[in-house]
Each structure stands twice: as structure tokens, then as C-alpha cells.
């Protein structure tokens, strides 16, 4: 396990990091929690010339309640989210999904920003961002911009983030009455999902409204199952229309039709979970 050689930079501010990223561009990789990047380097699947460690930028960490949103610093670790009363109250979907993210030692180092920046299609956090309608802050030497999660995820490990931009924060709009639901099918707990669904919505008189279900592990990117969610609002809970939303391909985890069937189960169980679990 021997990494390729690289130059290590440890900026102390976002401005400094952005300047370093602007200078080195393609040759640099940002180091957040490192729980994916380190294995990638260990296998020499990437050989960056420069590694910019965001770990010492204090104001990239933290969870704060703003007027209309919960703000998560990009370098906030999973474990901090897991323990946060603010997250449990205002974004319980995250609290619900976090135990499915790898395991303790990894959650002690891994960060929300790192996961959303990587955009693994089978990971839990990107899907949660999509379901929650989160906004993502991207910062470069030119300034910052906010982009909706729906516009951020573009394809397989492909996002709207430019090479010169740093994912600096995430904002989750407050929606006090909203309920959440979550389900994933995995070979082993803690593994990337074979199929998963993260759902938010309101329930009135037993009917679901404003349902947003983000599917993960069943396409090249996390996907909002809009058609299936509409159907669910009319009482069709079994994900019957899911193939209009996600297009799993055959891979080592099974043929396309099996993966779609598992996605349907995940959808149905996440929505059922939502119906049974109040946002309190």
C-alpha cells in the first residue's frame, strides 16, 4: 500500500484553498475526510501531483440553524451529524440514513461534503440531499454560487462542480411538518446499496403530498423518482412507475430487471416507512 508521491498543502482558509486549487487545477485533488480518496490513492487509481487538505479550515465545519435552512459545513463529519440534535430535529432523514453509511471508524473521518462532492451513485448522502431539496455551495477564487441538488448531480461521478470550485456548504430548507422514510437493500449492512430510497413528504388524512423520493444504487446517479412519487400520492405505493424514473443496467449485482425489482421494493418500503414514522 504505497501511495504515489504528491505535494501536500494544508490551507487554513477557504480563500487560500481556492487560490491553490486555481493554481494547480487538474493536477490537484481536494482531501476532505479521505475515506474514499485514500483507498483510491493506495491502489494508485489516481496520481494527483498536489493534495489540498481541507481539514484545518475551521469554518468549513459545523451545523447551524439559519432562518429558513439548516446549514452544514462541508467538512462536517458524519459522526457530528449523527450526534447532532439540530440535524435530528430539522433533517431527520440524515439521522435516519447515517447508520447505513459504512461503519463507525469511517463515519468518524468521512464528511458530508466529501460524499456529496464524490457523488457515488450508490451512496446514501447524495440521495438524501436530493430528497431534501438541498442547496450546495460551490466556492472558487471568483466567489461562490449556490446550486440546487437536482441540478448538481449530472451523471456517473459527474457533478456541476468545476475543477476550480470547492464544495463549501450545504443548506437544507426547513420543512417542519415533513415526514421521512428510508430503506436500502444491501448484501451486508454498511455496504453500498444494491438499491435504496430516501423519501420525504407530508401526510394529511392518510394521503401523501409533496413526496420526494431519491433513489440510489439503481442508476448512474442519484435520481428523484418523480413519476413513481406522483403515483404514490394517488395511492400506488409499490413503485409501479419507477422504470420511468430510473434505468438500472446489468452489472455484477444483477441483471437490470432484478435491480429494478429491488429498487421497487426499496421505494415501496421507504414510502411505507414514511407513512409510519412521524417527523415529530
Amino acid at each position: 500500500m504505497k501511495f504515489p508521491a504528491f505535494k501536500y498543502l494544508r490551507p487554513s482558509s477557504v480563500a487560500e484553498a481556492a487560490a491553490q486549487l486555481a493554481e494547480h487545477g487538474d493536477d490537484a485533488r481536494l482531501l476532505a475526510g479521505g475515506q474514499t480518496l485514500m483507498p483510491v490513492l493506495a491502489m494508485r487509481l489516481a496520481e494527483p501531483e498536489v493534495l489540498i487538505d481541507l481539514g484545518r479550515i475551521e469554518n468549513l465545519r459545523g451545523i447551524a440553524l439559519e432562518d429558513d435552512a439548516l446549514r452544514l459545513g462541508a467538512m462536517t463529519r458524519y459522526v457530528d451529524l449523527e450526534r447532532s440534535a439540530l440535524v435530528a430535529e430539522h433533517a431527520p432523514l440524515i439521522t435516519r440514513a447515517l447508520p447505513y453509511v459504512a461503519h463507525v471508524a469511517i463515519r468518524n473521518r468521512g464528511t458530508i461534503g466529501g460524499s456529496v462532492a464524490l457523488a457515488d451513485p450508490a451512496a446514501e448522502m447524495p440521495a438524501c440531499m436530493l430528497a431534501l431539496g438541498a442547496e450546495i455551495e460551490l466556492t472558487s477564487t471568483e466567489g461562490n454560487r449556490w446550486i440546487a441538488a437536482e441540478d448538481y448531480f449530472l451523471g456517473l461521478y459527474e457533478t456541476a462542480r468545476e475543477d476550480t470550485e470547492i464544495l463549501t456548504a450545504i443548506r437544507i430548507p426547513l420543512a417542519p411538518e415533513r415526514r421521512v422514510g428510508f430503506y436500502e437493500v444491501a448484501r451486508r449492512h454498511g455496504d453500498y446499496a444494491l438499491a435504496g430510497a430516501a423519501a420525504v413528504g407530508d401526510v394529511e388524512d392518510g394521503r401523501i403530498q409533496g413526496l420526494r423520493v431519491a433513489m440510489f444504487g439503481c442508476d448512474d446517479l442519484p435520481v428523484l423518482a418523480k413519476t413513481a412519487a406522483k403515483a404514490a400520492e394517488t395511492g400506488v405505493l409499490d413503485g409501479a412507475w419507477l422504470e420511468a424514473d430510473v434505468s438500472p443496467t446489468s452489472n455484477i449485482n444483477g441483471e437490470a430487471h432484478i435491480r429494478l425489482a429491488q429498487a421497487r421494493v426499496a421505494f415501496r418500503r421507504a414510502v411505507t416507512d414514511l407513512l409510519g414514522v412521524s417527523n415529530g
Binding site: 504505497k2 508521491a5 437493500v185 451486508r188 449492512h189 444483477g254
Partner: protein, 788 residues
């Protein structure tokens, strides 16, 4: 006979003496060792499953920073890595055994095949330099699938003109066919035993060292059998005589078979150390282990069982293709034949059996013994077939087994496939397991699960295995190229403490405790006064190593024999001092006493007399108290038992959960119950892993798709229940301890119990078979197929 006084004797759960060093980080594994002047090696491997090497340009690597040397196959002209067993075809054609070079000679035959070694002052430098080597390959078509390989259209080894190493058979085919013609019922199945990757937690490592002054080589290596490595590497590959080659296997972090074999890296580092006259350390990265450690299992079988109208088995016929990978590894040829086909009688009275084995080369990592080695393949095949036969004939799963058990009064029992079982009581382990598994309450549990939308199933496996390998004469007749005895030296020190040198290496099994219990018990001395030394050819006289659950049944017996010699000599010494005849000396509780008197000498006093022989029977004995014994067993040993698995299947997702697992095994006399239970737990976990999670997968070009712990799913704590484990003892009839062996029973008995349980859970949906590993997608597919 637990020792009431100290509670350290035979039958006591003595806490392990090795634990303290492991628990405090003081274990001494190969990668923890550093030699003065040490260099580091990185091995450049083939990225192709099959390719011709046109040229290798190492010039840039040789001149890279810190590089000491770069060697390729052209530099390393040595002997071929040998296979330890010669298995010839049924028609007499000798086993086809193509050359197995340590560093590739003009061709590579699997992804991971060794191409060059880069040696540098640091590992970073070696790895950086390896990226500068330019190998010009012409990729060739690879043959990866067993069925494709059988067609012989693409050849792994051109020179043998076929992919079949041997086409071997046991049993009289005509006789078996005749039985099938008259049978009331025939059950037929195609059965795949999935390919596994052993994945001991410690990656393999080797340090080659050469002393220019003495001309001695030393190899520190992660092996289960240092003397075997010395023999194979010294005699066959590098031509280094034994007295100039020392092999050390210090603490080894698990083996499960995968560290039996002589691997290329051992030869490469040892040879290269001689070239550069500096020590060279190589440690596998996990991703490298996946593509270089010998894989396990990988059988494709068609099996048929003939039954009469009463459900009695009349005959069995089996055709198996066994994947050998690209080269014949050390034990590979023996696994599907002598460790698989000969076990096909199981615990049943099936009178006639025929089995044909085709051993097939493919462009994949060599396949060899992995925990159970051949016997899990046999038990899986047989117990799946019996399960299916019961369902087809309407017999109860327990009843069909009972109807066919070899009765407990029928031993010794000669099977139709060469083996003669010495002892066993299959009804005892079955009925004990039925109680422990609370089978009576299953229907209620199934109904309760159904209320939650879950399908609950119960699966049985009544299995047998052969271990304690092996009687050398028998093994030799079967093609073994070495003896399979074990040796021990019991060295009593002048003040009465004892060091035991054993050829049985311990890499998790707790020999340092169990063997000390044996000797302490036999000599009547405190267990603290006994040290067990193993793993160093420079210290231990000889040894055949640890595999096939042989350590206690063969290695332990050698220790007993050597200790018997100590006692016999000590009695003569005591008789001399006590002025009695040796026949009148009784030895008990660590004291030599003249029968019927109170005249007595303690063991320590006799030891001192042996080394300070002032009053000593010089005319009869030599001074000293140090004895060596070699023990060659009279027969294999035959542990067996009953495993019962209970699962819940989520029919919507295909997810399987093992909710309960019961194992009742007969491993003969139990020396340390705590250690035996631990061995069973570990074996069962690997068996459940095979049944539900683990499956090695290649793409059609021979690239490994399951090359990391993320893709190759081994059981984690959360995937397993706590196990219900018990033993039932029948003593081995041909060794003095009555022991049979416990290392592999868990892995051999459990996979069919798990799959039978999954099939049972889904039987009412029409499912009749589920392949291993029964992943969610596999189970889901089986359900859908049954529905349509």
C-alpha cells in the same frame, strides 16, 4: 480426565498462552521483522490473463532513484514450482504438469502472474520504479470459464495440447450404471461449488536473506509448513541443499490452506537475496493477495443418486470438472480426487459409487486447498442431492438420512470409494442437533415469520470428512510425492522444564496451548513449565506442517510418542537411583515411585540426574533426556456430525438472514473444548460465507471482478448469529489420544445446511435450487424462475 488440581489437563478449557502477546501488539508476523541492510521488493505482475511477452525494458527502472536491482524471468533461470501430488488419468496417461515458472518465461497465464521484481532501498522507490518498466505484450485470447476450457479451443499451455491435466475416475462405472437402470427413483442435479478467495487477514509476506560468509539462505515467510517450503523450494526450484537453507514461519495471521503452498514470491525473494547479498522484504498488498493467493473450490458437477422404493440409496454417479487455474499449485491435483471423490459415500451406506474428475487449466489464479479442501465440495454435492431426493420422494429430511446412515455398530466400515471409516455415531450427532436446534418448535417459528412477510426455512447437513492426513503409504500409493507423518522432539531441560519442538505450525489454532496441555498432562508437570516451539527449520528437526486438521491427530500423536520415550527412559533412570527394577517403577502425578513403597523421585530430580549423571546407569543409557519421535498414522481420521441451519428469507428482495445455526460435531476426544468450539465457530462462519456471500467472479477477459473487500463480501459480525455448538465423542480407533481433528468440520458441514434451509424456506413457492452464494439477486432470480 480433567486435571482437578490445576485444571490444565486433557479436557480443560485452558486459556491460551499465546494470547497475551497478540493482545498487547507483541505478535511477531513476517512484516514486523526487519533485517539489517534490508531492501524492499515490488513485484510487477501481468495485467493480462493471457499474453505473450515480446520484450521487457527495465533500463529506466534500473536507473531510478534508490533501485538496487531489477530481475525478470530471463535473469531467473531456476527450476519449476512443483506440484506435490501426481494424479494420473484413468487410462494411465500421466498427469499433465506444465512448467510453473516463478518469474514468467515468455508468457503470462493469469492476471497477477509474476513478470519482474524491482528491489530498492524503500518500498516507495521500488513501486515508483516498477511503473517505469515497459513490457511489450501481445495479448492472447483467454479461457476463463470451465466449460469453455473443456472445449480445448483456446489453450492455457500450448505444449500439452489440451486444457485437461488429468481425467481420473474412481469406482466401476458399468456396475453403477446397472444399478441406476433398476432404480425406483433417480435424483439428478447440476451443482456448482463456487470459487472462493481464502483471505487470511494477514497478507502473505516473505523476506529473503543471504549470508555471504556461510553461504546460508534464510527465508522468513507466511507459511503453514516451513519444512515443506524448504523441501519444495530448496530441492526443486532453487537447488539449495537443506543445510544451507533455513525457513522461518513466525506468527502467521491465519492460513485456511492458502498458506500451505509454495509461492513464487518465496523463491524470487530468496533467489534475489543471493544475487544482491542483501535482505529483501516483500509484503503483499490486499489487492495483490486477491490475484495471487491460491483460490479455492470451483467445481462444476453433474450428480445422480439412485434410490429404491424405500428411499434407500442404491448408487451414486458424479461427473466433476475441477478448475486448476493456470498452473498446478502444491496440493491442487489431490483436492478434487483424494479429498473429494473418496468422500462421496458420506455417512451413508450407498453400496456403489462412480466419480469422474476432469482437472482443467484456465487463465485464472491457481486453485488449491481452502479450508476443507475437496470435502466441502463432496458434502455440499451429497447433502444437496439427499435434500432434493427427499423432496422428490416425499420423505422427511431427517427420515431419509436415518434410513441410509451407516449404523454405529458397523465400524470399521469400508466405503466403496477407498476409505475405511474407523468410528462414528451419526444418529448421536443428529439427535443431539435436533434437540439443540429446537426443531420441534420450528413450525410455530415459521408461522410467526410468515406473519411478518418472511419465509422461514430449516436445512440439514449430516456430513463426514477425512482428515489427519495422512498414512504415508496410502498417500504414496495415491500419488503423494512426500510422506505425511509428523515429528516431535521433547527436550527436557536439566531442572525439569520442557521445550517441545513440533512440525505442526500454529497460525491461530492454539497449538502452544493444546500441545502444552498434552505434555503437562502426560508428564504431570505444570503447564507453565512446557514451551512449544514451532515454525523454524533451524530449530525444529522436521515437520510436514499444518493442514487437513492434522495437527492433533498426527502432530499431537508424535508428541505423545516422544513423551512416552521420555517417560520410559526416565523410569530406567529412576529405577537406577531408587535401586529397583524399571518394571517396578510407577509414574503418576509427576513422580516416579517404586510400586508398593514410598520411595519416589520427582520428574525434575530425574531430569537433573540425566544431565548430572553422577549416579546413572551409564552401561545402559546415554546421559540427557531428549527424545524425538516420528508418527505416521495408520489411517485417516473421520470427524462427522450434523449441522442445522434456520434462515429467514425476504421474498421481495431475496435477502437471506441466518437466524440460527446449530453444529454438533464428533471430533473424537476433545483436549481443549474452548479451542475446539472456536475452531467450529470459525469454520461455520466461512461456510456461511461461502453459502451466502462469497463468490469469486472473473469477466470473460480474465479480469477479477471481486478484487477487494468491498466487492468480495466476507461475513462481518452483523451477518452472523451466535452459534449453538456441541460435540458428541466417538474415539478415533487408531491413535492413542482418540482424537480426530476439528479445524475444518465447520466449513465442511455448514454450506449445504444453509442452502438446504434457503430452499426449504422457498419450497412452497416452487423453488428447488438456489446457487451459492445465495445473494439477494440469486435468490430473487430463483423465486422469479419458479413463479414463471
Amino acid at each position: 480426565m480433567p486435571d482437578g488440581a490445576t485444571n490444565t489437563g486433557i479436557g480443560a478449557s485452558v486459556k491460551r498462552v499465546e494470547d497475551k502477546r497478540f493482545l498487547t501488539g507483541k505478535g511477531n508476523y513476517v512484516d514486523d521483522i526487519n533485517r539489517p541492510g534490508q531492501t524492499y521488493a515490488y513485484i510487477l505482475r501481468s495485467p493480462h490473463a493471457h499474453a505473450k511477452i515480446n520484450s521487457i525494458d527495465t533500463s529506466a527502472a534500473k536507473s531510478a532513484s534508490g533501485v538496487v536491482a531489477v530481475f525478470t524471468g530471463e535473469d531467473m533461470q531456476v527450476g519449476s514450482i512443483p506440484c506435490g501430488w501426481q494424479v494420473d488419468s484413468a487410462d494411465g496417461t500421466p498427469m499433465r504438469e506444465p512448467g510453473h515458472p516463478a518469474l514468467a518465461q515468455g508468457k503470462v497465464r493469469y492476471v497477477g502472474d509474476q513478470v519482474a521484481i524491482v528491489i530498492a532501498d524503500t518500498l516507495d522507490q521500488a513501486k515508483d520504479a516498477a511503473e517505469k518498466i515497459n513490457v511489450d505484450y501481445t495479448p492472447l485470447k483467454a479461457v476463463v470459464d470451465l466449460r469453455d476450457a473443456l472445449a480445448d479451443t483456446t489453450l492455457v499451455h500450448d505444449e500439452i495440447e489440451t486444457n485437461i491435466s488429468y481425467d481420473w475416475a474412481i469406482g466401476d462405472k458399468a456396475e453403477v450404471d446397472a444399478v441406476f437402470d433398476g432404480a425406483a427413483h433417480v435424483t439428478k442435479m447440476d451443482i456448482v461449488n463456487n470459487r472462493l478467495i481464502p483471505n487470511a487477514m494477514e497478507p502473505r509476506a516473505a523476506i529473503g536473506d543471504f549470508d555471504r560468509a556461510s553461504g546460508e539462505y534464510t527465508l522468513y515467510t507466511t507459511t503453514q509448513n516451513p519444512h515443506v517450503i524448504r523441501l519444495l523450494m530448496g530441492a526443486f526450484v532453487l537447488s539449495i541443499p537443506e543445510h544451507k537453507l533455513r525457513v522461518v514461519a513466525p506468527d502467521v495471521g491465519g492460513g485456511f490452506g492458502s498458506k500451505i503452498f509454495h509461492y513464487a514470491e518465496e523463491a524470487i525473494t530468496t533467489w534475489a537475496a543471493g544475487q544482491i547479498a542483501r535482505p529483501i522484504k516483500w509484503t503483499a498488498e490486499r489487492s495483490e493477495s486477491f490475484i495471487t493467493d491460491a483460490h479455492g473450490r470451483d467445481h462444476l458437477s453433474h450428480a445422480e443418486l439412485a434410490l429404491d422404493a424405500n428411499g434407500k440409496f442404491l448408487g451414486l454417479r458424479v461427473e466433476t470438472a475441477a478448475n486448476m487455474g493456470a498452473y498446478l499449485s502444491t496440493f491442487a491435483s489431490a483436492v478434487p480426487t483424494y479429498l473429494h471423490a473418496t468422500l462421496l459415500a458420506g455417512v451413508y451406506t450407498t453400496p456403489v459409487i462412480y466419480c469422474n474428475i476432469k482437472a482443467v487449466f484456465t487463465n485464472t489464479v491457481p486453485v488449491d486447498a481452502y479450508r476443507g479442501a475437496g470435502r466441502p465440495e463432496a458434502s455440499y454435492l451429497l447433502e444437496r442431492l439427499v435434500d432434493r431426493a427427499a423432496r422428490e420422494t416425499g420423505l422427511d429430511q431427517v427420515d431419509i438420512r436415518r434410513r441410509n446412515f451407516i449404523p454405529s455398530d458397523a465400524f470399521p466400515y469400508q466405503t466403496p470409494v477407498a476409505l475405511a471409516y474407523d468410528s462414528g455415531d451419526y444418529e448421536a450427532t443428529l439427535s443431539s442437533a435436533l434437540k439443540l436446534a429446537e426443531v420441534d418448535g420450528f413450525a410455530a417459528r415459521k408461522a410467526e415469520a410468515a406473519g411478518r412477510g418472511k419465509k422461514r426455512g430449516l436445512g440439514y447437513s449430516t456430513y463426514i470428512e477425512a482428515c489427519g492426513v495422512a498414512p504415508s503409504a496410502v498417500a504414496g500409493a495415491l500419488g503423494a510425492r512426500a510422506g505425511l507423518y509428523e515429528s516431535a522432539e521433547v527436550r527436557v531441560h536439566p531442572t525439569g522444564s520442557v521445550t517441545v519442538f513440533t512440525g505442526s505450525h500454529s497460525h491461530g489454532q492454539g497449538h502452544e496451548t493444546t500441545f502444552a496441555q498434552l505434555v503437562s498432562d502426560q508428564l504431570g508437570i505444570p503447564i507453565e513449565n512446557v514451551d512449544i516451539s514451532h515454525g523454524d527449520t533451524g530449530k525444529v528437526q522436521f515437520g510436514m506442517g499444518t493442514y487437513g486438521s492434522r495437527s492433533l491427530a498426527v502432530g499431537g500423536e508424535a508428541i505423545v510418542k516422544a513423551t512416552d520415550k521420555i517417560i520410559s527412559k526416565a523410569k530406567k533412570i529412576a529405577a537406577h537411583v531408587l535401586e529397583a527394577s524399571a518394571e517396578d517403577i510407577e509414574f503418576a502425578g509427576g513422580n516416579f515411585t517404586v510400586a508398593g513403597t514410598d520411595r519416589s523421585m520427582a520428574f525434575g530430580e530425574v531430569a537433573l540426574t540425566a544431565y548430572v549423571p553422577h549416579n546413572f546407569p551409564h552401561e545402559e543409557l546415554e546421559p540427557g533426556l531428549d527424545e524425538t519421535a516420528f508418527y505416521d498414522p495408520a489411517n485417516f481420521t473421520f470427524p462427522g456430525g450434523c449441522h442445522i441451519c434456520e434462515v429467514e428469507v425476504d421474498p421481495d428482495t431475496g435477502t437471506v438472514e441466518v437466524v440460527s445455526f446449530t453444529a454438533v460435531d464428533d471430533v473424537g476426544r476433545v483436549i481443549n473444548p474452548m479451542i475446539v468450539e472456536g475452531q467450529v465457530h470459525g469454520g461455520v462462519a466461512q461456510g456461511i460465507g461461502q453459502a451466502l456471500l462469497e463468490g469469486c467472479s472473473y469477466d470473460e477477459d480474465g479480469q477479477l471482478l471481486t478484487g477487494s473487500f468491498m466487492d468480495y463480501a466476507m461475513p462481518r459480525a452483523h451477518n452472523l448469529p451466535s452459534f449453538k455448538v456441541a460435540t458428541e465423542e466417538t474415539l478415533c480407533a487408531h491413535n492413542s489420544l482418540g482424537v480426530k481433528g476439528c479445524g475444518e468440520v465447520g466449513a465442511i458441514g455448514s454450506p449445504p445446511a444453509v442452502i438446504n434451509a434457503v430452499v426449504d424456506a422457498l419450497a412452497d413457492m416452487g423453488v428447488t435450487d438456489v446457487a451459492m452464494p445465495a445473494t439477494p439477486q440469486t435468490v430473487w432470480r430463483a423465486i422469479q424462475t419458479a413463479k414463471s
